[in-house]
Symmetry: C2
Subunit: 118 residues, 2 copies
Amino acid sequence: MVGLRGLERLPIQGELPGELPADRARLLLKALADPIRLEVIEALAGGERCVCDLTSELGLAQSKLSFHLKVLRDAGLLADRHSGRWVYYQLQPEALERLRGWLAALAASCTTPAPPCC
Amino acid sequence: MVGLRGLERLPIQGELPGELPADRARLLLKALADPIRLEVIEALAGGERCVCDLTSELGLAQSKLSFHLKVLRDAGLLADRHSGRWVYYQLQPEALERLRGWLAALAASCTTPAPPCC
DNA sequence: AAGTTCCAACAACCTGACTTGATGGGAGAT
DNA sequence: ATCTCCCATCAAGTCAGGTTGTTGGAACTT
């Protein structure tokens, strides 16, 4: 599997309190750090899409796409919606926003000069 | 090696024009998506540090830390500064900011409902 | 000069993530 | 009921990325 190593089942979906622990940030980053998943993300940036639609647009094997969609969904980056025999996926702006907040916190005071050292 | 696969030597360091192509974003994300590198990043969030300092604080083999520092540096996330026989590393807020911008663009219109499908 | 410390780079090994192909379930159509 | 389509899941194989130990250069000390 993928974005995991012992922390796959923390309560990911419902977590709005801006603060994002490092482990959670790592899960998001790991989910995003794959070329195919980035294509999926960018395809979904325009709005919700169904799986069959993504399959043909990205030219991926169904099994392959399904694998990557699961990784993104487990990370909380995507939400799925079932309708008939189709499944629609949507990018979750909250997840992106939390990651942005984490990045902003890092940048806040990183330019402090180094102490004398050793 | 790591954050690469054919695009390791694009001009990474000097690139302020807010726009961040997907390939570049992927390089940043891949560099960040590692537990050890996240520890390094967080250690540097407080300000510049020398390598020997990081080695002892994170309890890492010198070779291992050097490997990860190179990945982060190649991605443009870190800048190094040599002084005597010491090397100081600093987090680059511009890189973080560019990534934040990329994330913001993704979130902009991702909640558009799906077209009828198939 | 020789010795020591700090750090980067290399080769070989190894683990874990990704790929591939196949199987199975759910929902609609005939 | 049967068939078809859409999608998730599984097992097995592949391979890129990370680890480990070592080597070597640069800078300072004695």
